[in-house]
């Protein structure tokens, strides 16, 4: 009630004089108000009008029976949606019917209606497009899923989501080029269209088919081979992602000829995407950890290994600590973390499963390495173990890269992503080494730290600066797409970086310069000076580390937020 009373009053008229000076109640009310209020709360429809019907074929079947195939799919066939675009007028009844008849939650919708616009002044074109899951031949959601929460029914071809198997990693929402699986945050799982498989099994039409006033949606049996051939010719739908990615089975048919300039209504729109913070932290810190171990190994090779024992203990612990922190963060990303143990189920096809396994092995190896560093510092197994850590870490990093490459998004191409993740590993590996050095000098052995600095300081500074320059240059190179006329996905990313995400872009560059150029420069000067052990030195190295990590976190934020996701033609929503 209070919210209601706090409503902004739109130019209130003069309050009436003596508004509260009301007339006395009329004599002989007879409790009229009480009777009216009681009557208002009495429902009458059931007693008067309700009627029952015997069970049988749903009455509605007479409208939709011809929108269903006469026979179920045979071998080499499956069910598919067919949309007659000539009959799709954009009323969106299908969306609400699907919502209602499937009992979805308040904000949840499984179908969507986009819009294509184009043509010329004399032949303008406007085409609404109703779309849901395409029940692809090669569903990206299914392939991506680390827990096998998707099934493609061998008989019907329906791609079904197993809600109780899902642990909420949301990878399918990134993998599906059609933006079909929708994450349900309250439940911690994804849900999606299942072509109303239980309705189809009972001879009923899916909700959308039943409810389209214009019979624009029907269910057809399609030949798998035909779908593949059609995808080769790429006549799926103007403005839709390349059907080669997943071989969608929906057939959009039309007698209309779309002009070549036909584009989705939301084509020029750029909206930042969901950033997935736990993933950002996980990616950055795993890369830091792997990088730190590798830098440690390199120091072992270049310097006198016997002088490094104490430092190695500290550095391995630092790197391991960040690695474990990263893995903890990754669990936070799950909608239902209690089912994290299912993560390896999809090992045969899911890069996410492989990543989890690789980083699991990495964590085990790193633990062992750190333990041996402390307990058997002169063990001959140490170098082997070290390279095992580096190997599993690099493997995990490669899987991380492939997770994003698999989605087919240009912003997440192999070269771009591998370079980013690799450079982050080098950059933060070095930064973490600086951190270890500082802690080493402060807490363990100042003279030894100083000696180490004399030997390794310069290459560490040079390496850090070089990685920073390369990485910032790589990121900035995206902006060249702004010069191109074509509104490519990369141009959208560039527009996002300079538009809605410009604040984070500025911060990212500032952090990068501070941590990767300015602070190293300062340290270089200090290094050249006679005594480089002041508090200043500690603060500078600390700032270097914090700025580098912050810069990489921001870059990774943009990695998610600025990625132009492929999707079906969207609504007009400027």
């Amino acid at each position: 009630m209070s919210s209601l009373l706090d409503l902004p009053i739109v130019r209130p008229p003069r309050p009436p004089a003596g508004a509260t000076a009301a007339a006395p109640s009329p004599a002989g009310d007879d409790g009229l108000l009480q009777r009216l209020l009681a009557a208002q709360q009495t429902l009458t429809a059931v007693e008067v009008f309700s009627r029952d019907h015997d069970a049988g074929l749903p009455a509605q079947a007479k409208y939709y029976s011809r929108l269903l195939p006469a026979t179920p799919p045979g071998p080499g066939q499956q069910y598919a949606f067919e949309v007659n675009l000539d009959r799709c007028s954009g009323c969106k009844a299908c969306v609400t019917a699907c919502h209602t008849l499937n009992g979805l939650d308040e904000h949840e919708t499984w179908r969507d209606v986009g819009l294509l616009i184009g043509g010329t002044p004399t032949h303008p074109v406007m085409q609404h497009v109703t779309t849901a899951c395409h029940h692809c031949l090669e569903p990206a959601c299914l392939i991506a899923c680390p827990v096998d929460a998707y099934e493609k029914d061998p008989r019907t071809g329906i791609v079904k989501h197993l809600d109780d198997q899902c642990f909420g990693c949301q990878y399918c929402t990134l993998a599906c080029p059609y933006d079909v699986p929708k994450y349900h945050a309250d439940k911690g799982i994804v849900r999606k269209c299942d072509m109303c498989h239980s309705r189809l099994a009972g001879g009923e039409a899916p909700a959308c088919v039943q409810a389209c006033p214009h019979e624009a949606i029907s269910i057809k049996v399609v030949d798998v081979r035909q779908v593949i051939e059609d995808a080769e010719a790429d006549h799926f739908l103007p403005g839709a992602p390349d059907p080669q990615m997943t071989l969608p089975t929906t057939h959009f048919k039309t007698s209309r000829v779309f002009p070549r300039n036909t584009l989705p209504a939301d084509y020029y729109q750029v909206n930042p995407q969901h950033p997935h913070w736990p993933l950002i932290v996980m990616l950055v810190l795993t890369q830091l950890s792997v990088g730190a171990f590798i830098v440690g190994l390199l120091l072992d090779r270049w310097l006198d290994a016997t002088t490094l024992t104490a430092f190695r203990q500290l550095h391995a612990s630092t790197a391991l600590g960040f690695g474990l922190l990263a893995l903890a963060a990754s669990v936070l990303h799950l909608g239902r973390p209690q089912y994290a143990f299912r993560a390896f189920v999809g090992l045969r096809h899911s890069w996410l499963s492989r990543e989890i396994l690789a980083f699991g092995a990495f964590a085990a190896a790193a633990c062992a390495f750190a333990a041996v560093c402390w307990m058997r510092p002169d063990s001959p197994a140490l170098p082997v173990l070290g390279w095992l850590v580096a190997g599993t870490g690099a493997g995990g990093l490669f899987c991380s890269v492939m997770i994003y490459v698999f989605t087919g998004r240009e912003f997440w191409s192999f070269g771009r992503t591998a370079a980013k993740f690799g450079l982050t590993a080098s950059l933060l590996g070095i930064a973490a080494t600086w951190l270890s050095l500082v802690v080493y000098g402060l807490c363990v052995d100042a003279p030894a730290a100083n000696r180490l600095l004399r030997q390794a300081g310069l290459p560490l500074i040079q390496g850090l600066a070089a990685a920073t320059v390369l990485k910032l240059a790589l990121e900035a190179s995206l902006l060249r797409h702004l010069m191109f006329r074509r509104q490519s996905p990369l141009k959208r990313s560039a527009r996002l970086l300079l538009g809605p995400l410009s604040g984070s872009s500025t911060a990212r560059v500032a952090c990068g310069l501070l941590g990767g150029i300015i602070m190293p420069g300062f340290l270089w000067k200090e290094l050249a000076a006679a005594d480089s052990q002041g508090l200043l030195w500690v603060v500078a190295a600390g700032m270097l580390f914090v700025a580098c990590v912050a810069g990489e976190l921001l870059e990774r934020y943009q990695f998610f937020a600025a990625c132009a996701a492929p999707r079906m033609p969207g609504r007009l929503n400027p």
Binding site: M1, L4, L5, I9, V10, R11, P12, P13, R14, P16, A19, T20, A21, A22, A23, S25, P26, L33, L36, L37, Q40, T42, L43, T44, A45, V46, F49, S50, R51, D52, G56, P58, A59, Q60, D86, G90, K92, A93, V95, T96, E106, H107, T109, V113, G118, P121, V125, M126, Q127, H128, D163, D164, R199, G202, A211, P213, E215, R342, V345, N573
Partner: protein
């Protein structure tokens, strides 16, 4: 061991469980298919939808007697098992936190505070009576709606005029249907849309004028698409609408060039002898004058005034000629015009002269806007005395006084002022107290800045609404919380004259009361409760209204009660008791279910689809329809150097309704329409103005300015821009121009300037 393995297996791969079961479906019974298993209906009941005039029936799923969900009614002759998004979400919007749950009274500090009904009603009475005592009885007026039940409209009109001594009251139907009312009344002798929806399926030529069925009436577009005759579909609309996109001929006429186009088409039909002389001679009058009048609409003139080519217009005329069953349909593009009545009559003229009326698949057909605009037209007691009677007619007054058992002297001898004169009356100090029922003038009335300023001058503004958050409710001195559709009983009348039943399937929130109950309470507190002693339920009032309709073209005395309406799948007026109709029909009523109509005894049931004028007799005393015409008038506000664009307004999406007080309460509907105001502009104009896709632009008229995002589309022609009407700020731009006969506002055309917004996008009001 096996069970352990199984448990491990399930842990690793779980195909069933609580999450899966949440979405389980199960047979719904009652003729329904599968529905969510956790929400199985225990019973069902049907009622008509409460949004638009299509009048779809929705099957309400009941649990414990209360609505738990709905599906469209499969066998209702209107919607044939379909609904638009608004219908599907009709129950959702009842659960909004924005509902008015208790009366609210503005206190001395200017805040609305909850009060009880007793105080609210006493305040209503004392303040209104105070205003009347000070400024005369006619200084109180009401503005009502096409969204409440016929019985409620009648109660409001009777209470205000016969009980409270109010003279002026009008409805928001003035904003949508007044033009059709006047056009029909003048041409046919009664406000009588002649068609039945089956005509959509029976035509071989369908002409849609200023009507975007796909978006405004999706279920009527369903009926068009069910037409098995591959009809020629001609859309006359300046804009490429969804409907125009599906047309076989789209005549993108210049805004308000439709009148010249229709006259020119008539001229071509006459010149070629493509007319039905026999029908004209038998059933009409005034044709020769009309023929002489339209001779001036030469090809040169119509091409100049419509922007179309002569070939397009000739093809249109030839299509009408070649069609065997041509139906003409119009909506707001015609009605909301400075010359709407004559435009509607130009459409009627085409139907009359080609004999396309009174037969299946024909007609000059106005598609109404609101769910009960048609009820308002007959029974709101505003422009017409109850039952389509004339206030000025002594016998009509005597008849109604007799039926209502009141003193004939209590019935005013003149009709109310139309809406805009009431608003003007406030400005001129003639109206001091206003009672707004279920409408939102602070959003919807034309030239909004003026309107709000004027409403702010009232001494006492009462708003009776479902929601406490409407733009008008926020201005009220007193807010009376109303129960909504689904929380009360009564009837609606749809576009094709079909009466449908409303039911109480939800409990109103807080102490909100049905409008009917509020009127009863006010009658009691006002001291005229005795006069309305017989008005104790909507069903009782329905019987009174039946009597009022006796002998009128809208005679419904043959309808026994609500039960009969329901059993027949709705009943179109007329259905008189005296004369059992034998009119040709599209099959007998097949809906009659196993049980017999409660009180209709063995009376014949009305056929499900009936149209008017099958005998070629109209309602004028001579039985003839009139050809009515007039020279086209230029646009009231033409473009000029400062304001070079014409602003068109209209429906945005099928999931938005009017001022969105209801549709914005559904999360799903909100997803289906743009959240921000957008303007459609031609890419050519946009390029000239340096406006890119999605750029913020400022649109300015002489009356206001607003900010919108540019949508570049060739759907609008050069020199025109389009704004969807649902967004609050749009009517800041529109021009107070009105049709001189219907007094309907001309929302559809005014002059504006479009500029690219600066970075800050400042929108300080212009000096």
């Amino acid at each position: 061991m096996a069970s352990i393995l199984k448990t491990v297996g399930t842990l690793l791969h779980q195909t069933d469980g609580p999450l899966t079961r949440e979405l389980l479906l199960a047979p719904g019974r009652f003729g329904l298919g599968q529905v969510p298993a956790r929400d199985l209906p225990e019973a069902v009941t049907d009622m008509v939808c409460g949004y638009c005039s299509t009048g779809c029936s929705l099957r309400i799923h009941l649990r414990n007697g209360e609505a738990s969900g709905l599906t469209p009614t499969t066998d209702y002759p209107v919607n044939l098992g379909m609904a638009c998004p608004k219908g599907w979400e009709a129950l959702t919007v009842l659960d909004s936190p924005e509902r008015a749950t208790t009366p609210l009274l503005r206190d001395d500090s200017g805040r609305l505070r909850p009060v009880d009904w007793d105080l609210a009603l006493r305040t209503f009475v004392s303040r209104m009576q105070e205003v009347q005592a000070k400024h005369g009885p006619h200084s109180v007026a009401f503005l009502s709606t096409g969204q409440i039940a016929t019985e409620e409209m009648a109660f409001l009109g009777a209470l205000a005029k016969f009980g409270m001594g109010v003279l002026h009251g009008d409805g928001n139907t003035r904003q949508c249907m007044a033009t059709s009312v006047v056009a029909y009344k003048q041409a046919f002798g009664f406000d009588a849309p002649p068609y039945t929806y089956a005509d959509f399926e029976q035509s071989d030529v369908i002409v849609l004028i200023g009507s975007n069925l796909c978006i405004a009436h999706p279920i009527l577009w369903e009926r068009v698409l069910r037409n098995p005759h591959s009809p020629e579909i001609i859309v006359i609309d300046p804009r490429l609408t969804e409907t125009a996109m599906s047309a076989t001929q789209h005549l993108a006429v210049a805004p308000k060039g439709d009148l010249a186009l229709l006259y020119g088409t008539a001229r071509i039909l006459i010149e070629n002898g493509w007319i039905d002389r026999a029908f004209i001679d038998r059933s009409t009058t005034g044709f020769d004058d009309f023929a002489a009048f339209v001779a001036q609409f030469t090809d040169e003139r119509i091409t100049a005034e419509t922007g179309l080519t002569a070939a397009q217009v000739h093809r249109f005329a030839r299509t009408i000629h070649e069609g065997e069953r041509v139906s003409f349909w119009w909506t707001m593009g015609v009605n909301q015009s400075h010359q709407g009545v004559r435009t509607a009559q130009a459409i009627i003229n085409l139907a009359l002269m080609t004999g396309n009326i009174g037969r299946p698949g024909t007609g000059a057909n106005s598609i109404t806007g609101q769910c009960n605009a048609m009820g308002s037209r007959l029974f709101s007691n505003t422009t017409n005395l109850l039952g389509g009677h004339d206030f000025a007619h002594p016998q009509h007054r005597a008849k109604i006084a007799r039926i209502l058992n009141i003193d004939p002297e209590r019935i005013p001898t003149e009709p109310s002022w139309p809406y805009h004169q009431i608003i003007e009356g406030i400005l001129r100090g003639k109206i001091k107290g206003l009672w707004v029922v279920c409408t939102n003038p602070a959003h919807s009335w034309i030239n909004q800045h003026d309107c709000r300023d004027i409403l702010g001058r009232l001494e006492f503004l009462v708003v009776q609404d479902m929601y406490a958050t409407t733009e008008t409710a926020r201005m009220a001195h007193l807010l009376l919380p109303a129960a909504g559709w689904g929380e009360k009983e009564g009837t609606f009348i749809n576009s094709e004259r079909r009466i449908g039943v409303l039911k109480k399937v939800r409990r109103a929130p807080g102490v909100a009361l049905a409008d009917f109950a509020i009127f009863r309470a006010i009658a009691h507190y006002w001291g005229c409760g005795e006069m309305f002693a017989a008005w104790d339920s909507p069903a009782a009032v329905f019987q009174i209204l039946k009597q009022c309709s006796a002998g009128q073209p809208c005679d419904i005395t043959g309808i026994a009660d609500y039960r009969m309406i329901e059993d027949c799948g709705g009943i179109q007026w007329p259905w008189p008791a005296t004369k059992r109709q034998t009119s040709a029909s599209d099959g007998p009523s097949t809906s009659a279910s196993s049980h017999s109509p409660s009180s209709a005894l063995h009376a014949p049931l009305p056929p499900r689809e009936r149209r008017l004028f099958e005998d070629g007799r109209f309602y004028h005393s001579d039985g003839r329809a009139r050809f009515l015409f007039e020279d086209p008038h230029p646009l009231p506000e033409r473009t000029n150097e400062r304001f070079p664009f014409l602003l068109l307004t209209g429906r945005g999406t099928a999931s938005q309704w009017h001022t969105q007080t209801r549709t914005r309460q559904s999360a799903v509907l909100r997803k289906l329409y743009p959240q921000r105001l957008f303007v459609e502009i031609s890419p050519l104009d946009a390029a000239a103005l340096g406006i890119g896709p999605n750029d913020p632009v400022v649109i300015e008229s002489q009356r206001g300015r607003l900010r919108a995002r540019a949508v570049l589309t060739h759907a609008v022609q050069r020199g025109q821009v389009f704004l969807p009407m649902h967004y609050e700020e749009v009517n800041q731009l529109t021009l107070s121009a009105f049709d001189p006969y219907s007094h309907q506002p001309a929302y559809k055309a005014c002059a504006v300037q479009v500029t690219r917004a600066d970075r800050s996008g400042n929108l300080r009001s212009s000096p």
